[in-house]
């Protein structure tokens, strides 16, 4: 466990090597948030309710989406494919360290740092703009929210890791990742609540694991789901987590069999 904790600290140090890059990354997060914040304010200028949301709830949604984008969709596993292609994966294989746990530790480091800075950024935005956003006070809903976020973190990590394993078979890994990123942006609820889509499209999106990354946790947080809906959501999400873990394990074993450490 100590080695993974050390790894988390090293990952933090790496972030602060290029401070300008770090600052620009934080600025881009704020810009992204503000573009949706003001859009929804404008949409609610002459309306009290849209798509079943009032203004506090929709602002609560976008605040929560900003946080979840950082801690669920923020990941270091994008680097995995490059490590495989360059043969540097061998370094991890010969070490007394689980490759999966190694990358998960880096991810956790990334998420903790993201959360720390994001909290202060959102606090500053709240202080300057004083938005009337919804805050959940039901402890049961908060606990369920935290569990759904944890499942979302696992789910995205496994999916992203799987994408990285494409590196075993081809050097062209950025294109599938680019496509995947935009599919997720469309149907995870990270840009807009999926409720605004017609029911048919929403039903299609629910067949995929992606709404359980952002949309489902936020709906749990907002207290907008019934108990059966929450239960079925957790069951479906858990299914996807187990499915991707098992699939990932198989692909990893197959990939290792053909791995030739080119470049090393």
């Amino acid at each position: 466990m100590r080695k993974y904790t050390k790894l988390i600290r090293i990952t933090w140090q790496q972030y602060f090597v290029y401070r300008v890059n770090f600052f620009a990354w934080r600025l881009r997060n704020i810009v992204f948030f503000l573009s949706f914040y003001f859009l929804w304010l404008a949409a609610f200028q002459n309306k009290n309710e849209l798509f079943g949301y009032n203004l506090p709830k929709i602002l609560g949604y976008i605040f929560a989406a900003q946080i979840l984008r950082s801690i669920i969709l923020g990941s270091r596993t994008a680097d995995l494919a490059g490590e495989i292609n360059s043969g540097r994966l061998s370094i991890y294989l010969v070490r007394p360290i689980s490759v999966l746990k190694y990358w998960f530790s880096q991810d956790i480091a990334d998420k903790i740092l993201n959360l720390l800075f994001l909290t202060s950024e959102l606090f500053l935005i709240f202080f300057l703009l004083r938005p009337p956003f919804f805050v959940q006070t039901n402890p049961f809903a908060i606990v369920l929210f935290i569990v759904s976020v944890f499942l979302g973190i696992l789910l995205y990590f496994y999916i992203d890791f799987l994408l990285g394993l494409i590196g075993f078979w081809t050097p062209e890994t950025w294109a599938p990742r680019f496509l995947f990123i935009w599919i997720i942006q469309l149907i995870s609820g990270s840009i807009f609540p999926l409720d605004i889509l017609p029911q048919k499209i929403l039903s299609l999106a629910n067949l995929s694991p992606f709404p359980y990354l952002i949309f489902f946790p936020i709906k749990v947080y907002l207290g907008e789901l019934t108990k059966p809906q929450i239960l079925s959501g957790f069951l479906v999400c858990s299914f996807w987590v187990i499915f991707f873990y098992l699939f990932l394990s198989r692909v990893w074993k197959k990939g290792l069999k053909i791995y030739s450490a080119e470049g090393q």
Partner: protein, 265 residues
């Protein structure tokens, strides 16, 4: 001057065709990138479409107008991406010293930096978008006058010139600081705020995005001209800003180039 333009056009065509050849080697990746770009386009299109289907107006604009702002944004964004892709490779050439080689060649170095990686495949994306816009305009039934259309096209060109000037500004700063990538991505993220009219934002933010980082002049002003709601003051200001900013950026480039320190080649 005409000879110089012809010379640089031939070089641009040569480099673009080489980039296209590389694209064709990775056909599957190219297809996936194209699909990703189409999904990206429809993500925000669908969002704005369904959002504005429930609101009567958004910042004073109806659904068709909001969609048209978004389409104008995409049009200029794609044009800037098609022709100015070279900026993403600039930092690499600075730190490796390969920029020295560009300086020794009989090509304008700024031209070589900005226009060296034009992806001709992006032109297909541009054509698809243009067709989509024409189809949309036919269905939207805007009252289009020749004057507004002409002004729209001229301000689109002006928007491209301001975008070009911004890229020149960024690569100039990059020569001194080596910070190119973060600046360009910050510009692109700020540009994304113009997916919808800047009237949506707080007045101070509107001013910042118009006068300091001229996103409004690049993306929002042409669409407003199309609807005939742009005053003469703004038209003159936009064109003047474009010319002055371009001249300033070119001067800055010359200034920074004289202070270039090679990383060794």
């Amino acid at each position: 001057m005409f000879h110089s333009i012809k010379h640089h056009f031939k070089i641009w065509l040569f480099l673009s065709l080489r980039t296209f050849q590389i694209t064709l080697i990775y056909r599957f990746s190219t297809l996936l990138f194209l699909l990703g770009k189409i999904i990206r386009f429809f993500t925000f299109f669908l969002f704005l479409y369904f959002l504005t289907s429930k609101t009567a107006t958004l910042a004073g604009y109806n659904q068709n107008q909001i969609i048209f702002f978004y389409l104008t944004f995409k049009l200029i964004d794609i044009l800037l991406q098609i022709f100015l892709r070279g900026v993403y490779w600039f930092r690499g050439s600075l730190v490796s010293g390969n920029f020295d080689l560009k300086l020794t060649k009989p090509v304008n170095p700024l031209f070589a930096v900005l226009f060296s990686h034009t992806d001709l495949l992006d032109i297909s994306t541009f054509i698809l978008l243009a067709l989509f816009i024409i189809n949309f305009l036919q269905k939207a039934a805007f009252l289009i006058t020749l004057q507004n259309l002409l002004l729209y096209l001229l301000l689109l060109l002006n928007g491209f010139i301001i975008g070009l000037a911004l890229n020149v500004f960024i690569v100039s700063i990059g020569i001194i600081t080596l910070e190119v990538d973060q600046l360009i991505w910050t510009f692109r993220d700020l540009s994304a705020m113009a997916r919808y009219p800047l009237d949506v934002y707080h007045i101070n933010l509107q001013r910042f995005l118009t006068y300091i980082i001229p996103i409004g002049l690049i993306f929002t002003v042409p669409a407003k001209a199309f609807f005939g709601i742009l005053t003469l003051k703004w038209i003159i200001f936009s064109f003047l800003f474009g010319i002055i900013f371009l001249l300033f950026s070119l001067k800055l480039w010359q200034f920074c180039l004289k202070r270039y320190n090679s990383a060794s080649s």
